[in-house]
């Protein structure tokens, strides 16, 4: 057991925070995605066999924590951790060669199309159908919450066998953005990003569109989503700390009744509670990262859902209280304090709320007790 960060990890944290802070000051900052590709950040968790750096979840968390602190709401987790992770985990050699180096250089911009109406974050809820054809596959169904701006291809989950919410019989299909029968409806997201709903109507795909020829991709999908959640946990830590720091600064300069707001004990205790949530969040995000790559799927899932159940609640509390303590100004777009809350709301919509993950944790605990 060793819980110290290495010198390289400290350096990564420092350079990520410095870079993002500097970008926030510049009006004409370059494209962040291109800059991250140059710095090797996109390659970090990708396998070394395909131009990646083979780094683990703790390193990714260092990066996403910096994203949270600077409200750099990037497509990193969905594109690199989710899509990159899935291709690396189950892709064929040809699929890896086609996609992973291009991800590392920032050229490829895939998006995972998995969530559906009424799934409510049940990851096995896949109604989209994949039917075998003479030449390969035909996909039909609707997807929501497809993250990222202007995807150039999609990784679409579809049911090859079984019924709705069966864990078996789910495949992941590579679908080009210009495929016939595919309709992409882009929309803005609450946190200032881009996402889409997609409709697939008899989309014809070649046989090799099925990722890794794997007709039971649920385990890989479940793992990749958990790994993305670990990255988002860390993002929330950065976000909570920044919101708390901004609130502390504000309550020290805002004078009411002839004294700074920050001298009032009711507010001081609220700020103490925000700080407590930050610290506990930091502990849980680290725990999530340390379990994210674990070979023990049950332990991993329990640690991830436990961390998110805690952090979703903490981040919501901190972001809401940051607004409360900024008073009327907190509710306006004139300050960016509301952006923290918007990002938390977006992440809960993507990942599921604290209740959902508490239930997953309880179900996994019951299964572990029964075993």
């Amino acid at each position: 057991m060793n819980l110290g960060y290495s010198d390289e990890q400290r350096l990564l944290s420092e350079s990520a925070n410095n870079l993002l802070a500097a970008r926030a000051q510049k009006k004409d900052a370059r494209d962040l995605w291109a800059e991250m590709a140059e710095l090797g950040w996109l390659a970090m968790p990708l396998p070394e066999s395909h131009d990646g750096l083979g780094q683990g979840a703790v390193d990714v968390a260092i990066l996403t924590e910096a994203f949270g602190r600077h409200l750099a709401s990037t497509d990193y987790a969905p594109r690199i951790v989710l899509c990159g992770g899935l291709v690396a985990a189950i892709g064929s050699d040809a699929q890896k060669a086609a996609l992973l180096p291009a991800l590392a250089t920032g050229m490829a911009k895939p998006a995972l199309a998995h969530a559906e109406e009424n799934a409510r974050h049940d990851r096995a809820h896949v109604a989209t159908q994949a039917a075998r054809t003479a030449g390969g596959w035909r996909l039909s169904g609707d997807k929501i919450g497809v993250l990222g701006a202007a995807p150039d291809r999609f990784i679409v989950s579809a049911r090859i066998a079984g019924s709705l919410r069966d864990r078996s019989g789910i495949g992941l299909f590579l679908v080009p953005a210009d495929a016939r029968g595919l309709r992409v409806l882009s929309h803005a997201t609450v946190d200032g990003g881009q996402a889409s709903r997609i409709e697939l109507k008899d989309v014809e795909l070649p046989a090799d569109a099925l990722l890794g020829a794997n007709e039971n991709a649920f385990e890989a999908l479940d793992r990749a989503v958990d790994q993305a959640i670990a990255a988002w946990c860390a993002e929330c830590v950065g976000l909570m700390e920044a919101a708390t720091a901004a609130t502390v600064d504000y309550t020290k300069i805002r004078i009411q009744f002839g004294k700074p707001l920050a001298v009032n004990q009711a507010l001081r205790h609220r700020i103490a509670d925000m700080s407590i949530q930050c610290e506990e969040g930091r502990s849980m995000a680290l725990r999530a990262a340390l379990y994210a790559d674990s070979a023990d799927a049950g332990a991993r899932a329990r640690a991830i859902s436990g961390a998110w159940a805690k952090i979703a609640k903490s981040a919501r509390f901190v972001a809401e209280q940051a607004i409360q303590l900024h008073g009327g100004m907190g509710v306006t777009n004139e300050l960016d304090i509301g952006m923290y809350l918007k990002r938390v709301v977006a992440l809960e919509a993507i990942v599921g709320g604290a209740d959902r993950h508490l239930r997953r944790h309880a179900a996994l605990s019951a299964a572990a007790r029964a075993a």
Binding site: M1, N2, L3, G4, Y5, S6, Q9, V58, T244, V248, T251, K252, P260, A262, V263, Q265, R268, H269, I271, A272, D273, S275, I276, E279, E280, R282, S283, M284, L286, R287, L290, Y291, A303, G306, A307, A309, K310, L358, R359, H361, A362, S365, A366, R369
Partner: protein, 401 residues
């Protein structure tokens, strides 16, 4: 960074398990399990400490030169978790974790030579003379007075909430030696033999029905000046050091985990109709919530210890936070246990110690302590600095005003 144990750490874990299998007898376990007060009953904890001393494990946090175990972070963690889950008693913190480190850092050579081995071997039992009837959260306002008379101090006043004063043979106390300057400046740290004439102890029963704390009265009690630790008037800073050491070294999550496992055990016995209570969705969600809170605290404690071991200061935010969360989680667990009892939460057993009763108890042994533990456990968020004081400390650090 790695959570998994190395081969050496696994070997140590096996050594700990073998030790527990050999020495943690069913009798010791039962005595501990049937003690609903905050600390282990002194005879139980002392017996256990002597067994640990024989193994060289009595003082995980002490430097090796003073007889400490010299454990790494991982060894400390393994010990706490394994011994808690096995149901081992806790040893009193008063000597090993409180007065010991102060004597080590600020005491004279003679004080170190005399007291430290006696603490280590459980030959002395210490109690803490801090709070007074008029000085709770505002500890620095304390009024118990020590007036110099030749080579002695003459002490008058009263201390309260003194855990195990009825058992202890020694007390470390904060006493007022001056009224000049700031109230913190006139306080000295002094070691008192509880057999000294003029000391009387009044028991205070807690709402759980246990005799754990006392009020101690001092009536012209003569204590040698040689029993003062460090400089006169510097006692407050030593007292603060003691608190930092205590909080910084805390590894309470293992015990919380053990307590939660116990609630799961009784929740598996109790039934709602045909269904074991542990399968009740509301109960299972609360169990998960507590488990997650323990995970977070455990990681926080590991982070604090990790930074201590690499020479970094974990900061007072994290030590106050650990105290705060430990106490809140402990209360959540005891509250959950009482809810699991259902109708049985009506049953009151006033006799003590429970482990010495030879007739049948009115409830199963694994359920009988839940109610008094819940009631006594209300003290967790009060002693050692209330939750409100901890929030004041955190706010002061974070806000800087």
């Amino acid at each position: 960074m790695e959570l998994a144990f190395t081969p050496d750490e696994i070997a140590f874990q096996n050594e700990v398990r073998a030790f527990l299998a050999a020495h943690l007898t069913p009798d010791i376990k039962r005595s501990h399990a049937l003690t609903p007060s905050v600390f282990s009953d002194p005879p139980v904890g002392n017996h256990w400490q002597k067994l640990l001393y024989a193994k060289g494990w009595a003082a995980p946090l002490w430097p090796k030169e003073y007889g400490g175990a010299g454990w790494t972070l991982a060894q400390r963690y393994i010990w706490e978790v394994e011994s808690a889950l096995a149901g081992a008693p806790s040893v009193t913190p008063m000597g090993l974790r409180m007065v010991g480190p102060v004597i080590m850092k600020f005491g004279t050579q003679a004080q170190k030579d005399f007291y430290l081995p006696r603490i280590l071997k459980a030959e002395d039992y210490w109690c803490q003379g801090y709070s007074e009837p008029g000085s709770g959260s505002d500890l620095a306002s304390l009024k118990t007075r020590a007036v110099r008379d030749g080579d002695h101090y003459v002490i008058n006043g009263s201390k309260i909430w003194t855990t195990h004063a009825h058992y202890a043979n020694r007390m470390f106390a904060l006493v007022r030696t001056s009224d000049e300057g700031k109230k913190q400046d006139g306080i000295s740290f002094i070691l008192i033999d509880m057999d000294t004439p003029g000391i009387s102890v009044r028991p205070i029963l807690t709402i759980g029905g246990d005799h754990e704390v006392n009020q101690v009265f001092f009536d012209d009690v003569r204590v040698p000046v040689a029993n003062r630790v460090g400089a006169e008037g510097q006692g407050w800073s030593y007292g603060k050091y003691l608190l930092e050491f205590e909080r910084g070294g805390a590894m309470s999550s293992g015990r919380l985990r053990g307590a939660l496992r116990h609630v799961e055990k009784i929740a598996a016995h109790y039934r709602d109709g045909e269904r074991p209570l542990i399968e009740d969705p509301a109960i299972s969600l609360r169990l998960s919530q507590v488990e997650i809170d323990i995970d977070a605290l455990e990681m926080t404690e590991l982070r604090i210890m990790s930074s201590l071991q690499t020479g970094q200061n974990p900061g007072s935010v994290s030590s106050s936070l650990a105290k705060l969360r430990n106490s809140e989680i402990k209360q959540a667990i005891t509250s959950l246990a009482v809810d699991v009892l259902g109708e049985d939460a009506l049953v009151w057993e006033p006799r003590r110690p429970l482990y010495e009763l030879n007739e049948p108890l009115p409830l199963e042994e694994d359920a009988i302590t839940a109610l008094p533990e819940y009631l006594n456990g209300r003290a967790y968020t009060i002693f050692g600095g209330t939750s409100e004081v901890q929030r004041d400390i955190i706010a002061k650090v974070v806000i800087g005003l």
